[in-house]
Amino acid sequence: MTNVLVVAELAQGKSRKTTLSAVAFAKTVTEATGGSFDILAIGADAESAAEELTGFGAGKVLTAEIEGDYICESYAPTVAEVAKEYGVVVACASTFGKDLMPRVATKIGAGVASDISKVSVEGDELHYTRPMYAGNVFGTMKVTTDIQVVTVRQSEFEPAAPSGGSSSVESVDVVDADCEGKIESLGIEVVESERPDLGEADVVVSGGRSLKSAENFENVLEPLVDALGAAMGASRAAVDAGYVPNELQVGQTGKVVAPKLYVAVGISGAIQHLAGMKGSKVIVAINKDKEAPIAQVADYFLVADLFDAVPAMTEAVKKAKAAG
């Protein structure tokens, strides 16, 4: 029997969708081992966020109200204190989970299985499978400490659906922050977008260096993104050039996505980019170079100049959608 603690990720007083990937992990583990799971909502407005999380089958939703922006040093002591009662502590492998959980783990002497794509129960052990070498090898490992800390890859853990019922809500004591006075957040610049979030979208359209400017992202790529109701992504080269903000980077150092449809526009398909999208169901490449490595993973490869093909595709998609 393994009891699991899910650490919820909050933003603007709400739970982010990433939390539900961690809940999905908790359900898999507790259903297989006969344990139960609780959710810890920690941060500003934890109490209101907790309400949203009571319908997912958790025993309890715990709340820890901490004012101000997230920093690892202010959350980790409380999470570690709560974690002591569980066998496994899990969060999503977003920048939140990857930043917070190793600190929590160190406090409770735990090992970390990071960015896992799969969990399986083998006898009384949990085995975690995780992508390594930018997704070119999958390693299966176990954590040998009493408490195990895990972060799960959002694209591989389908968000848990509400399962009815109503968990009780309880607040926990907040433990003093680490490094008091040594680290302080001056603010988080949030980039608002009307489009679906990269991690959650069914369709992702990404642009590369070849778009050449922020204006072209806006005037050439965005109409296609919107015609497809997609999230917009980008290669690192496009982000580095300042065409789009860093949150849009797909790849080993950016976000990992696995939508139903991924359209790579003028992206060569470097190994580090593939690491972030090759799990997509259908991959389309639009590239004028037939030899570009993106061909290794593409299902459909349109050999064309993007500046002709993308506007034409936008029109064709609109027509096709209108015809239903």
């Binding site: 930043d99 390693g139 299966t140 490094c179 096709a320």
Partner: protein, 279 residues
């Protein structure tokens, strides 16, 4: 300012698709060992923090440290060829290390070296764990700033203003050193590092697809004479404990089928609709 830069050598990540699985191990026969690119970024960032780039003088000290077999000396010499002052090699077998072991050893090296900052990669390009930096910070009781894209130091070098990249946006932090910082891809963009010495209008050359500055023959020769300590775990007084165990490795299932090359947009859209059924 004294900066400690931990560096791992890894099998060339640009050819990671050539990595094989042999029995219960990963094999990278035929791949070159290179400096972990994530660590190269932090090395370059550390160099920029500790120099007057316009006068071309070093104003601080960088100690590079690697845990690995004897051959990892080459990686340390390479880093010294780019400008780091000293190297420390801690004896360790690549396969006996996990991020927990690495963090424990690095904590001892930090105690010994007393740097003002540790600048490291957010992840190793082989294991992709993204753990050691934060674990190290907790062992030291220091703040950690992961995914830094901008670092600005106060005049006395003690206070840092750091921007870091999160999934939800960019966070600005004020930090009192010493601290552990891991770097994002953007750390080497123009104007991201301000050390109060290099003139604000100085522009570093664009690195293009390089992960750090090149070193010339003269520097490489000079690097051979720079001090390099080789330490065993006994010298550091640490018996690190491993907390994970790999039970097997597999190559990912390839994608089924080959790319269909198409020439027309209409054909593509039609196939997406009726064949792939994604529209």
């Amino acid at each position: 300012m004294k900066v400690l830069v931990p560096i791992k050598r890894v099998a060339d990540p640009a050819n990671a698709n050539k990595v094989k699985v042999a029995g219960s191990e990963v094999s990278h026969d035929g791949l070159e060992w290179v400096m972990n690119p994530f660590d190269e970024w932090s090395l370059e960032a550390a160099l920029r923090l500790t120099e007057d780039a316009s006068a071309k003088t070093r104003t601080g000290e960088i100690v590079v440290v690697s845990i690995g077999p004897k051959a990892a000396v080459d990686t340390l010499r390479e880093a010294m060829g780019k400008g780091a002052e000293r190297g420390v090699l801690v004896d360790g077998e690549d396969t006996a290390l996990d991020s927990n072991v690495v963090a424990q050893i690095l904590a001892k090296v930090v105690e010994k070296e007393q740097p003002d900052l540790v600048l490291m990669g957010k992840q190793s390009a082989d294991g992709d764990s993204n753990i050691a930096g934060t674990k190290l910070a907790e062992l030291l009781g220091w703040p950690v700033i992961n995914y830094a894209s901008h670092i600005e130091t106060s005049d006395d070098g003690k206070t840092l203003t750091i921007k870091r990249e999160l999934d939800v946006g960019v966070q600005t932090l004020k930090v009192q050193g010493p601290a552990v910082i891991t770097c994002s891809d953007r750390i080497l963009k123009p104007g991201t590092i301000k050390n109060g010495v290099t003139p604000a209008d100085f522009e570093y050359p664009d690195l293009g697809d390089l992960n750090s500055r090149l070193s010339n023959l003269k520097n490489i020769m000079a690097a051979r004479k720079k001090p390099l300590d080789e330490l065993g775990l006994g010298d550091l007084g640490v018996e690190p404990v491993r907390v994970d165990e790999y039970v097997g490795f597999e190559l990912p299932a390839g994608r089924s089928g080959q790319a269909q090359f198409l020439e027309s947009v209409d054909e593509l859209v039609q196939k997406l609709q009726s064949e792939a059924k994604v529209l």
